[in-house]
Amino acid sequence: MKEETWFKWMVISTILHFIVITALTIPFKKSTKRIDLSSSYSVNLVGSLGGTGEKIGITEGRGVEGVPRTEPVPEKKEVRATPKKGPPPKPQRQTPVRREKEALSLSKKKVAQKPLKEKDVPSKDELSRLEERIREIKKRTEYFDVTKARSPVVQGGQGGQTGSLKGGSSGVGFGGEGGLRPIDPNTQRYILGVWERIKESWGMPGIASYKKDLETIVTIKIRKDGRIVDINMEKRSGNKIYDESILRVLRSVDPLPPLPSTVETDTIEIGFRFLPGELS
């Protein structure tokens, strides 16, 4: 009788162990897919100011430039032609405006007793100032889509040119201080060549198992002779191994071929967006 109970408990304990083992093997797989961080990145910051800002923001900027809005390529990632160099400075530029607004209404609160109306309906003065600001931002963040653009345009700048290259359909853009000037196809080809090269040497074991929404944005500064002088990680994906692999590949492609002769500036800056889908 004693041995019987002994074996009974042995069986129960074995079963419990196997339950624990299976429980430990399964659950991680599901949980990794739930987090969706990257989708919120290309938010139109100008839109946060209200209806006016949204209208004049990036959407209209596109029209001004004469670049047709491209539909997302179905099999690849969405072509979000958000300026890459653009976003980080944007909030900084934007915050003073917002603060001014608050400060205005606050100061009025102290003086007069109807601050709510003032807040709800911004004065003409404020509105015009906002629009001016938005136009300024818009100017600085001009971009175009290299692959889709009919008439490539570049804003030549003194050095600080920004490009963005994203996903399969790479959007490359330049932002600068100067006026509009047609981009020369050599530069365009050069940038695409750089992207191709990076893509070729960017290999990572087990990439297929990563979340598809990992996104890393890196801007690199290329000198005239093709050396990469600066690598700047604008946005980390959150996965260290993934980011590391990108930095490694960028270091490994250095030096790049020298810049085409048509580029007048000493350095150009190109932004890349790395998505795991590129590799698999």
């Binding site: 408990w9 074995t14 083992i21 093997t25 991680f28 074991p205 087990g206």
Partner: protein, 224 residues
């Protein structure tokens, strides 16, 4: 490291073991056996001790009401496996053996019954303590076995680094996390064993004092 190892980062903690070496697998299997056996002991002893304690309480209740040893024997009927019944049985046998030749005599009876009771208590405690020591063994050895697996795995992964010549995180991390899992399993086996061992020791002490009390009751009733 090959593709499968990195893939496993998205899997569960134990899926790391699929790609582990034979030493790590062996260590983990040993630890699982330890864990299974120690949990079996935990369940078994929990049941056994609670039953013994119940028996003891019932015995003391009966012994308080009884006014003579004969009464106690007649009112306390139990299974022969009950250690408190064994106490009564031992003392009864001692008395009958002493009084077979000259019935009614009480000289030298009490020390003899006391000795018989002491022997019974020692026997019973030995039976109750049986296998509990395995819990102490598990508690002491399982972390070391796990540590052995970890050291072995880290040795392996360092050799891998040396062979590959790279020290990037993607080469080092899988090997080390694969190695650490055996320590984790070792601790997971040892911690319940330590807790249960200490708990059972406390319970054994209580059972022992109950049995000693029961033997006092028996001697008192015999002296009446």
């Amino acid at each position: 490291m090959d593709v499968s190892i990195i893939n496993n980062f998205t899997g569960g903690a134990l899926s790391l073991l699929y790609s582990a070496g034979p030493v790590a697998k062996g260590v983990v299997i040993i630890l699982f056996v330890f864990s299974i056996v120690s949990w079996t002991i935990i369940f078994y002893k929990l049941k056994e001790y609670s039953r013994v304690e119940e028996d003891g309480e019932r015995f003391i209740r009966v012994a308080r009401e009884a006014d003579s040893f004969k009464r106690l024997i007649t009112s306390y009927r139990e299974t022969p496996r009950n250690p408190f019944y064994k106490l009564i049985y031992a003392s009864y046998r001692e008395i009958t053996a002493r009084q077979k030749d000259n019935p009614g005599t009480k000289t030298g009876l009490i020390p003899a019954v006391e000795n018989a009771l002491k022997i019974t208590i020692t026997d019973e405690m030995e039976r109750l303590e049986k296998r509990v020591s395995f819990l102490a063994t598990t508690a002491n050895t399982a972390p070391f076995i796990g540590l052995f697996g970890t050291v072995w795995g880290i040795m392996d992964s360092f050799r891998e680094i040396g062979l590959r010549g790279t020290t990037s995180l993607s080469v080092v991390a899988p090997g080390i996390s694969e190695a650490l899992i055996s320590t984790a399993i070792g601790l997971a086996a040892a911690i319940p064993a330590v807790l249960a061992y200490n708990y059972f020791n406390g319970r054994l002490k209580r059972i022992l004092s109950k049995m000693e009390n029961a033997s006092m009751y028996i001697i008192n009733l015999i002296e009446k």
